[in-house]
């Protein structure tokens, strides 16, 4: 609804105000008259009419004309087909690279997720005032800098879509860390994108990835303790959601998607199988490392190589990485050294990982492993 209003009015604040007014009118009227046939369209039309009335009123006031009584708004003529779905335009505006990433995230949650400023502030652990300022600054910049309300032209689409997907995945990861509502919100956004851009493989890839991770979440922690994938109770996984993830990945692959999200989804889904095809996982990580050039991906490849039965080769991959400040490098090294019966070196690596790890449950996990040696 907000998307269509921003598109129509060209102004975030006006659109939000009009939407609120329309909801207020509905709350007052619908209990008496019953719900209209198409409530969404009714709301958009009413909000548009209110906004137009408001603009007229302002103009009239500005001209110091007092002749006109503001007419009571007539019941809107509702034509659902006439209201264009402009959520895509809105999300590309919210995720424009001229806005700071944190502003992109906040705007997307506010405008497309419909979260309140207080909810967004709570999710990112900042005060509502700070979040309010962040949102107003972003909205002001959209207007002053002339950030377009449009789907980017073809030559810009790949990079702009990547920015949108990055925002959605960022929201998901904030939620995956424990704030459940945000993960659900990100999945909702991912579903909407898949519906709005059905021909973009990475859109389906990202949706598949989020669905798969989210499906395993109930098994990831037991009594607040982190549980490794291999030790997770698979009966806690959400099987229907894993099926949905498979379907989304199939669509991505059918569209010849081999981008970073599709590859990550393929890897995550392989790991829901039993037994896990580790050589295949390692091969996909190698492909992903080529696309992303990320040493973290190489680290994950090393884990897969070790699982496929070659811990010495895995250790060679790990030791070639320049990631000394990254706790998972050291915890991975520690696991590999332990497996290769090099206990002293393993202990040193666990200690280094403990120095760098901040998460409480992850620290306890490492301490247990160290004690077991």
């Amino acid at each position: 609804m907000l998307a269509s209003l921003v598109g129509f009015l060209g102004d975030f604040d006006l659109a939000e105000e009009a939407a609120q007014e329309a909801f207020a009118i509905a709350a007052e009227r619908w209990p008496r008259t019953g719900m209209p046939d198409n409530p969404g369209a009714w709301l958009v039309t009413t909000a548009r009419n209110r906004a137009i009335d408001g603009l007229r009123r302002e103009r009239i006031l500005a001209a110091k004309t007092r002749l006109l009584e503001v007419p009571e708004p007539v019941e809107p003529e509702v034509d659902a087909n006439a209201i264009r779905d402009e959520r895509l335009e809105l999300i590309f505006t919210c995720c424009h690279p001229a806005l700071a990433t944190e502003a992109q995230v906040a705007l997307t949650l506010r405008a497309l997720g419909g979260l309140t400023t207080e909810e967004i502030a709570g999710a990112f652990l900042v005060s509502p005032d700070t979040m309010k300022r962040r949102l107003s600054r972003a909205k002001a910049k959209i207007k002053t800098a002339g950030i377009p309300f449009a789907i980017p032209p073809d030559h810009l689409l790949p990079e702009r879509l990547a920015a949108v997907l990055a925002v959605v995945y960022l929201i998901f990861n904030e939620g995956y860390g424990g704030r459940v509502d945000l993960a659900a919100e990100a999945i909702r956004l991912g579903r909407a994108l898949a519906e709005l851009m059905p021909d973009e493989p990475e859109v389906h890839g990202l949706l598949a990835l989020m669905l798969c991770h989210d499906a395993r979440r109930p098994a990831r922690f037991v009594d607040g303790e982190l549980v490794l994938l291999e030790d997770q109770d698979r009966s806690l996984w959400n099987a229907a959601q894993i099926d949905e993830a498979h379907a989304a990945l199939d669509r991505a692959l059918a569209l010849r998607g081999r981008g970073p999200y599709a590859l990550q989804a393929a890897i995550a889904l392989l790991q829901t199988k039993e037994p896990i095809d580790w050589p295949q996982v390692a091969a996909l990580y190698a492909e992903l490392a080529l696309v992303t050039r990320s040493p973290v991906v190489e680290l994950n490849r090393a884990v897969a190589v070790a699982q496929a039965g070659a811990p010495d080769e895995a250790l060679r991959i790990v030791d070639a990485l320049e990631l000394d400040d990254y706790p998972y490098l050291h915890s991975t090294r520690a696991e590999l050294l332990r497996r290769l019966d090099r206990a002293d070196q393993a202990r040193a690596a666990y200690r280094r990982a403990l120095e760098l790890t901040r998460g409480e449950s992850e620290r306890r996990f490492l301490e247990r492993r160290l004690a077991e040696l």
Partner: protein, 114 residues
């Protein structure tokens, strides 16, 4: 919308070029003046020719050199009229400075101030 595209140069980048390369660079700057929507612009002489002026207690204080010591040097600007920020970004990406380690700051011109 109107934008000012402020050109920041990496110091020494232009000086490091050969005569032919400099001529080619200048030609590219002139070519941008012919791009649709470009209203005007100017290239500035180097900071060694800069003079900074302040007024304190009614006294005009003049000092040698630029206002601020920064890694990048303000080297010139274009003014541009286009549909939206994306149009301005597309033009900015064509300005030679961005291929020589410099950058372009895109700033909207206040309405009624051009």
């Amino acid at each position: 919308m109107q934008y000012a595209l402020l050109i920041y140069l990496k110091p020494g980048a232009f000086e490091a070029l050969s005569d032919e390369e400099r001529a080619a660079e200048s030609a590219k700057y002139w070519a941008i003046r012919e791009e649709p929507g470009v209203l005007g612009g100017a290239g500035l002489a180097g900071v060694e020719a800069a003079t900074t002026v302040r007024v304190q207690d009614g006294q005009t204080l003049v000092t040698d050199g630029p206002f601020a010591d920064t890694k990048e040097v303000f080297g010139g600007y274009y003014t541009f009229e286009g549909d939206d920020l994306d149009a301005a970004i597309a033009l900015a990406a064509k300005i030679p400075a961005v291929h020589q380690g410099g950058s372009i700051e895109v700033r909207p011109v206040l309405e009624g101030h051009s």
